[in-house]
Protein backbone atom coordinates (compact mmCIF):
# COMPACT_ATOMS: atom_id res chain seq x y z
CA UNK A 1 0.00 0.00 0.00
CA UNK A 2 1.25 3.41 -0.91
CA UNK A 3 -1.08 5.01 1.54
CA UNK A 4 1.59 6.48 3.72
CA UNK A 5 2.88 8.58 0.88
CA UNK A 6 -0.21 10.68 1.04
CA UNK A 7 -1.02 13.27 3.58
CA UNK A 8 -4.22 12.64 5.36
CA UNK A 9 -5.92 15.95 5.75
CA UNK A 10 -8.79 16.65 8.05
CA UNK A 11 -11.14 19.48 7.14
CA UNK A 12 -9.76 22.92 7.71
CA UNK A 13 -10.37 23.18 11.36
CA UNK A 14 -8.40 26.14 12.49
CA UNK A 15 -6.14 26.10 15.53
CA UNK A 16 -8.63 28.28 17.37
CA UNK A 17 -7.77 28.60 20.99
CA UNK A 18 -9.64 30.22 23.73
CA UNK A 19 -8.45 31.62 26.97
CA UNK A 20 -11.53 30.34 28.69
CA UNK A 21 -11.56 27.54 31.20
CA UNK A 22 -13.13 25.24 28.66
CA UNK A 23 -10.94 23.97 25.86
CA UNK A 24 -12.13 22.84 22.47
CA UNK A 25 -9.66 20.52 20.79
CA UNK A 26 -9.88 18.54 17.54
CA UNK A 27 -9.56 14.83 18.16
CA UNK A 28 -7.09 12.67 16.31
CA UNK A 29 -8.53 10.48 13.58
CA UNK A 30 -10.46 7.48 14.85
CA UNK A 31 -11.94 4.47 13.17
CA UNK A 32 -15.70 4.85 13.02
CA UNK A 33 -18.15 2.24 11.87
CA UNK A 34 -21.84 2.86 11.40
CA UNK A 35 -23.39 -0.36 12.55
CA UNK A 36 -27.04 -1.22 12.03
CA UNK A 37 -28.86 -4.33 13.09
CA UNK A 38 -32.37 -5.04 14.27
CA UNK A 39 -32.18 -5.87 17.98
CA UNK A 40 -33.97 -9.18 17.43
CA UNK A 41 -31.28 -10.21 14.98
CA UNK A 42 -28.66 -9.81 17.66
CA UNK A 43 -30.25 -12.87 19.20
CA UNK A 44 -28.70 -12.42 22.57
CA UNK A 45 -25.21 -11.49 21.39
CA UNK A 46 -24.14 -8.93 23.96
CA UNK A 47 -20.69 -8.34 22.65
CA UNK A 48 -19.39 -8.59 19.12
CA UNK A 49 -15.68 -8.41 18.46
CA UNK A 50 -15.21 -6.72 21.79
CA UNK A 51 -17.85 -4.09 21.22
CA UNK A 52 -20.38 -4.09 24.02
CA UNK A 53 -23.79 -3.66 22.42
CA UNK A 54 -25.82 -4.04 25.59
CA UNK A 55 -26.01 -0.36 26.41
CA UNK A 56 -29.34 1.44 26.43
CA UNK A 57 -30.28 3.76 23.59
CA UNK A 58 -28.26 6.97 23.87
CA UNK A 59 -25.51 5.46 25.93
CA UNK A 60 -21.83 4.88 25.41
CA UNK A 61 -20.12 1.68 26.43
CA UNK A 62 -16.40 1.43 26.55
CA UNK A 63 -14.54 -1.39 28.23
CA UNK A 64 -12.12 0.69 30.21
CA UNK A 65 -9.54 -2.06 30.43
CA UNK A 66 -9.39 -2.58 26.71
CA UNK A 67 -6.55 -0.57 25.30
CA UNK A 68 -7.95 -1.19 21.84
CA UNK A 69 -10.55 1.47 22.58
CA UNK A 70 -13.56 -0.40 21.29
CA UNK A 71 -16.35 1.94 22.14
CA UNK A 72 -19.95 1.55 21.11
CA UNK A 73 -22.34 4.49 21.05
CA UNK A 74 -25.90 3.34 20.79
CA UNK A 75 -27.64 6.08 18.86
CA UNK A 76 -30.92 4.40 18.12
CA UNK A 77 -32.80 1.16 18.62
CA UNK A 78 -30.97 -0.45 15.71
CA UNK A 79 -27.99 1.82 15.34
CA UNK A 80 -24.55 1.96 16.89
CA UNK A 81 -21.47 3.98 16.18
CA UNK A 82 -18.48 1.76 16.81
CA UNK A 83 -15.24 3.53 17.54
CA UNK A 84 -11.89 1.88 17.16
CA UNK A 85 -8.31 2.79 16.42
CA UNK A 86 -7.86 4.51 13.08
CA UNK A 87 -5.67 1.76 11.72
CA UNK A 88 -7.87 -1.14 12.81
CA UNK A 89 -10.93 -0.44 10.72
CA UNK A 90 -10.47 -3.23 8.24
CA UNK A 91 -9.77 -5.80 10.92
CA UNK A 92 -12.82 -4.79 12.88
CA UNK A 93 -15.01 -4.92 9.80
CA UNK A 94 -13.85 -8.39 8.96
CA UNK A 95 -14.27 -9.63 12.49
CA UNK A 96 -17.72 -8.22 12.92
CA UNK A 97 -18.88 -9.45 9.55
CA UNK A 98 -17.55 -12.87 10.36
CA UNK A 99 -19.38 -12.89 13.66
CA UNK A 100 -22.61 -12.00 11.91
CA UNK A 101 -22.45 -14.21 8.87
CA UNK A 102 -25.95 -14.74 7.60
CA UNK A 103 -27.44 -12.17 9.93
CA UNK A 104 -28.91 -9.10 8.22
CA UNK A 105 -26.94 -6.10 9.32
CA UNK A 106 -25.08 -3.14 7.91
CA UNK A 107 -21.55 -2.07 8.66
CA UNK A 108 -20.20 1.02 6.95
CA UNK A 109 -16.85 2.70 7.44
CA UNK A 110 -17.50 6.36 8.15
CA UNK A 111 -14.12 7.19 9.67
CA UNK A 112 -13.56 9.96 7.18
CA UNK A 113 -17.12 11.27 7.33
CA UNK A 114 -16.97 12.35 10.93
CA UNK A 115 -14.68 14.72 12.78
CA UNK A 116 -14.54 14.89 16.53
CA UNK A 117 -13.75 17.52 19.10
CA UNK A 118 -13.26 17.29 22.79
CA UNK A 119 -14.88 19.92 24.95
CA UNK A 120 -13.29 19.86 28.31
CA UNK A 121 -13.11 21.86 31.49
CA UNK A 122 -15.36 23.28 34.17
CA UNK A 123 -18.50 24.50 32.49
CA UNK A 124 -18.10 22.32 29.40
CA UNK A 125 -21.81 21.55 29.62
CA UNK A 126 -22.61 25.24 29.44
CA UNK A 127 -20.49 25.60 26.33
CA UNK A 128 -22.32 22.72 24.66
CA UNK A 129 -25.65 24.14 25.76
CA UNK A 130 -24.90 27.35 23.90
CA UNK A 131 -26.13 25.54 20.85
CA UNK A 132 -27.41 22.18 21.96
CA UNK A 133 -30.94 22.26 23.30
CA UNK A 134 -30.98 19.05 25.32
CA UNK A 135 -30.77 18.77 29.08
CA UNK A 136 -27.17 18.10 30.12
CA UNK A 137 -27.74 17.90 33.84
CA UNK A 138 -25.93 15.00 35.45
CA UNK A 139 -29.24 13.30 36.05
CA UNK A 140 -30.53 13.73 32.53
CA UNK A 141 -27.30 13.13 30.62
CA UNK A 142 -24.81 11.43 32.92
CA UNK A 143 -21.30 10.43 32.00
CA UNK A 144 -21.67 7.48 29.66
CA UNK A 145 -24.43 9.11 27.66
CA UNK A 146 -24.23 9.60 23.91
CA UNK A 147 -26.78 10.86 21.46
CA UNK A 148 -27.27 12.42 18.09
CA UNK A 149 -28.56 15.97 18.50
CA UNK A 150 -28.13 19.54 17.27
CA UNK A 151 -25.53 22.22 17.84
CA UNK A 152 -26.69 25.50 16.39
CA UNK A 153 -27.35 24.65 12.78
CA UNK A 154 -25.33 21.46 12.64
CA UNK A 155 -26.11 17.89 13.54
CA UNK A 156 -23.72 16.39 16.06
CA UNK A 157 -23.19 13.26 18.06
CA UNK A 158 -22.61 14.25 21.64
CA UNK A 159 -21.01 11.92 24.14
CA UNK A 160 -20.25 12.60 27.76
CA UNK A 161 -17.12 11.00 29.08
CA UNK A 162 -17.11 12.70 32.45
CA UNK A 163 -18.90 15.54 34.18
CA UNK A 164 -16.78 18.15 32.43
CA UNK A 165 -15.66 16.21 29.39
CA UNK A 166 -17.60 15.76 26.18
CA UNK A 167 -16.85 14.71 22.67
CA UNK A 168 -18.71 16.37 19.85
CA UNK A 169 -18.65 14.61 16.53
CA UNK A 170 -19.99 16.02 13.30
CA UNK A 171 -19.80 15.49 9.59
CA UNK A 172 -16.54 16.83 8.26
CA UNK A 173 -18.01 19.73 6.31
CA UNK A 174 -19.75 20.95 9.42
CA UNK A 175 -16.59 20.67 11.50
CA UNK A 176 -15.31 24.23 10.98
CA UNK A 177 -18.74 25.56 11.89
CA UNK A 178 -19.01 23.34 14.96
CA UNK A 179 -15.53 24.26 16.06
CA UNK A 180 -16.21 27.94 15.54
CA UNK A 181 -19.46 27.67 17.40
CA UNK A 182 -17.91 25.94 20.39
CA UNK A 183 -14.97 28.31 20.58
CA UNK A 184 -17.32 31.27 20.35
CA UNK A 185 -19.32 29.75 23.18
CA UNK A 186 -16.26 29.46 25.37
CA UNK A 187 -15.88 33.22 25.13
CA UNK A 188 -19.14 33.76 26.96
Amino acid sequence: MLERNLARRAPTVSPLVSEASVTVRPLDPQGRLAFRIKPAALAGRGTIDGFDLTGAINSRTSPEADSGMRTALRLGPDEWMLITAADEVDERCEAISAALTGVPHSLVDVSHRDVGFSVEGPGADVVVNAGCPIDLAAKAFPAGSATRTILGKAEIVLARLAADRFTVTTWRTFAPYVQGFLVEATRS
Binding site: G76, R148, T149
Partner: protein, 102 residues
Amino acid sequence: MLLIDCPYCGKRPEVEFHCGGEAHIARPETPTAVGDADWGSFLYYRTNPKGVQAERWLHGHGCGRWFNALRDTVSDAFVATYEMGKPRPDRDAATASTPSNA
Protein backbone atom coordinates in the same frame (compact mmCIF):
# COMPACT_ATOMS: atom_id res chain seq x y z
CA MET B 1 -40.57 25.01 20.61
CA LEU B 2 -42.35 21.77 21.26
CA LEU B 3 -41.01 19.15 23.61
CA ILE B 4 -41.57 15.76 22.02
CA ASP B 5 -41.52 12.46 23.83
CA CYS B 6 -39.68 10.21 21.41
CA PRO B 7 -40.63 6.61 22.19
CA TYR B 8 -36.93 5.71 22.03
CA CYS B 9 -35.15 8.75 23.46
CA GLY B 10 -37.61 10.43 25.78
CA LYS B 11 -38.42 14.12 25.78
CA ARG B 12 -36.41 16.06 23.27
CA PRO B 13 -36.72 19.50 21.67
CA GLU B 14 -38.62 19.98 18.44
CA VAL B 15 -35.60 21.11 16.43
CA GLU B 16 -34.38 17.51 16.44
CA PHE B 17 -37.56 16.38 14.72
CA HIS B 18 -39.28 16.58 11.38
CA CYS B 19 -43.07 16.43 11.23
CA GLY B 20 -44.36 14.06 8.58
CA GLY B 21 -48.02 15.04 8.61
CA GLU B 22 -51.08 13.00 9.40
CA ALA B 23 -50.51 9.39 10.44
CA HIS B 24 -52.37 6.21 9.62
CA ILE B 25 -52.94 7.10 5.99
CA ALA B 26 -52.25 3.69 4.60
CA ARG B 27 -50.63 3.53 1.22
CA PRO B 28 -52.95 1.32 -0.84
CA GLU B 29 -51.75 -2.26 -1.18
CA THR B 30 -52.19 -2.16 -4.91
CA PRO B 31 -52.07 1.47 -6.02
CA THR B 32 -52.81 0.59 -9.63
CA ALA B 33 -56.19 -0.72 -8.54
CA VAL B 34 -57.20 2.58 -7.01
CA GLY B 35 -59.34 5.07 -8.94
CA ASP B 36 -58.25 8.64 -9.63
CA ALA B 37 -60.52 10.18 -7.01
CA ASP B 38 -59.41 7.81 -4.26
CA TRP B 39 -55.79 8.18 -5.26
CA GLY B 40 -56.16 11.97 -5.20
CA SER B 41 -57.69 11.63 -1.79
CA PHE B 42 -54.78 9.47 -0.61
CA LEU B 43 -52.27 11.97 -1.93
CA TYR B 44 -53.84 15.24 -0.93
CA TYR B 45 -56.73 15.05 1.52
CA ARG B 46 -55.97 15.31 5.21
CA THR B 47 -58.21 15.43 8.24
CA ASN B 48 -56.74 18.69 9.54
CA PRO B 49 -58.72 18.41 12.77
CA LYS B 50 -59.15 21.11 15.33
CA GLY B 51 -58.45 18.79 18.21
CA VAL B 52 -56.49 15.60 18.62
CA GLN B 53 -54.73 14.38 15.53
CA ALA B 54 -52.47 11.43 14.89
CA GLU B 55 -49.33 12.50 13.11
CA ARG B 56 -45.94 11.21 12.09
CA TRP B 57 -42.67 12.50 13.43
CA LEU B 58 -39.11 11.65 12.53
CA HIS B 59 -36.45 11.98 15.18
CA GLY B 60 -33.98 12.76 12.45
CA HIS B 61 -31.40 14.53 14.55
CA GLY B 62 -31.73 11.86 17.19
CA CYS B 63 -32.35 8.16 16.95
CA GLY B 64 -33.43 8.40 13.33
CA ARG B 65 -36.75 6.69 13.90
CA TRP B 66 -40.16 7.62 12.62
CA PHE B 67 -42.94 7.30 15.15
CA ASN B 68 -46.52 8.43 15.64
CA ALA B 69 -48.00 10.91 18.06
CA LEU B 70 -51.38 12.12 19.17
CA ARG B 71 -51.36 15.86 19.58
CA ASP B 72 -54.06 18.39 20.25
CA THR B 73 -53.87 20.94 17.47
CA VAL B 74 -55.51 23.59 19.62
CA SER B 75 -53.28 23.41 22.68
CA ASP B 76 -50.34 21.74 20.89
CA ALA B 77 -50.11 19.38 23.85
CA PHE B 78 -49.09 15.82 23.11
CA VAL B 79 -51.51 13.16 24.28
CA ALA B 80 -49.30 10.21 23.42
CA THR B 81 -46.41 9.08 21.27
CA TYR B 82 -46.08 5.52 20.04
CA GLU B 83 -43.94 3.40 17.81
CA MET B 84 -44.62 3.16 14.13
CA GLY B 85 -46.79 0.17 13.37
CA LYS B 86 -48.62 0.26 16.67
CA PRO B 87 -52.33 1.09 16.50
CA ARG B 88 -53.54 4.52 17.38
CA PRO B 89 -54.07 4.58 21.14
CA ASP B 90 -57.70 4.45 22.06
CA ARG B 91 -57.78 8.00 23.24
CA ASP B 92 -59.35 9.69 20.27
CA ALA B 93 -61.76 11.55 22.41
CA ALA B 94 -59.20 12.28 25.05
CA THR B 95 -58.42 15.90 25.43
CA ALA B 96 -54.81 16.67 25.91
CA SER B 97 -53.92 16.94 29.52
CA THR B 98 -51.86 19.73 30.94
CA PRO B 99 -48.36 18.68 30.18
CA SER B 100 -46.16 18.18 33.12
CA ASN B 101 -42.64 18.49 31.99
CA ALA B 102 -41.17 17.70 35.32
